[in-house]
Symmetry: C2
């Protein structure tokens, strides 16, 4: 991906990464983004689900959502995805930090009107949360399709920012008698909780058992 | 907190909460926010640490950060904090959702110039990550204070949005032979990793042992 001026990492530039595989891996490791848009000069930042299909990031929601509104040539958006990987505990207050992987995408939102692209995007949104889930559930009806707005943002202008590793203390601080290191953090899936209205005898599907074993442990 | 027009929850209004204790509890349960600001009509959304002290939310970073720049009467910001509590797996693709707690704050950023308020904010930023940590580390020097910009946003215009509980399926879908329920998610702390340069014999401090036992388990 070409390094663009607006997505060049300016603070801690050594943490900036611009290659597509890194950006795509960070996007594929999560499912919640924070989407920013502007209304009357005021920024709004909304947490929402996303899925990536090729070079497009998809969001969805109500047609009345301000984030998803159709606008020509497209509403300017900033989509940011962040995974927190650990607390970086330095010997000085100043050098405390966070290990993280984040991606920022700038672009114009495009309302998806083609029904084939729209259905594929909605299936991807479900499968991005739990791989294999969309094939196991009742599909989307025409009425539901009409009640859902889908927005696409191309991954043309994006950058990643990543911090890993131990604290970076000042040379003179390493001899201080203070514990320093990293407290790794990870999003864990707990035991699934069946819907109280679940029909008796329906087992936990394979795609959920697989999910707990594999999906959240890669980072 | 008075319900303000700009922070009134419009999509799924039944999920909107406006009382200060709920908003403060959601803020205090996390440490990473997504901060939105506008530059030349383009929104930018940046993940950054925060801490709450009373009615103020504090951010910090480089004085050259665009997010933290001094501007009269203050740069319009949107600060959003989101905790993902579970995947809501419905019988239909359409009713898939997420259990979450989020807070959105709108306000003007105020650069903190008073040294007492600034030092207190920086200590709060460290203690908000790991309670008790700031007293255990080397304090901030005058030079470090000058190299750090601290921004305050009042919690005057804020709202929370919360979803809990099982999927809400269409009446006709409850008889389908499809597993439905919630997969709870939780941010977990793993075993602390000592800095490879840690002086031998320094034990893991009490504030980190406490952290693993208590801090991330409340939701």
């Amino acid at each position: 991906m070409p390094k663009r001026s607006r997505t060049t990492v300016r603070r801690k530039p050594e943490r900036g990464i611009y290659d597509s595989p890194t950006i795509e891996a960070i996007l594929d490791a999560g499912f919640i983004c924070h989407a920013g848009f502007v209304e009357n000069g005021q920024p709004f930042v909304i947490p929402t689900l996303y899925a990536r299909v090729g070079n497009q990031l998809y969001l969805h929601g109500s047609p009345r959502s301000r984030l998803l509104r159709p606008e020509e040539p497209g509403l300017p958006l900033c989509i940011t995805v962040t995974h927190v990987d650990g607390l970086v505990l330095a010997r000085s207050a100043f050098h405390h930090s966070i290990n993280y992987r984040s991606v920022m995408i700038l672009g114009l939102g495009r309302v998806v009107s083609d029904p084939v692209e729209k259905e594929a995007a909605l299936a991807a949104l479900v499968d991005h949360i739990v791989p294999g889930r969309s094939a196991a559930v009742r599909g989307t009806t025409t009425k539901e399709l009409q009640a859902t707005q889908v927005l696409a943002i191309p991954l043309d202008e994006a950058s990643a920012k990543v911090r890993t590793g131990p604290p970076q203390d000042d040379d003179g601080d390493y001899s201080l008698p203070i514990w320093a290191g990293v407290l790794p953090l990870r999003l864990e899936a707990l035991e699934p909780v069946s819907d109280p209205r679940l029909t008796a005898g329906i087992p936990l599907p394979e795609h959920l058992r697989r999910y707990r074993e594999t999906t959240l442990t890669s980072s």
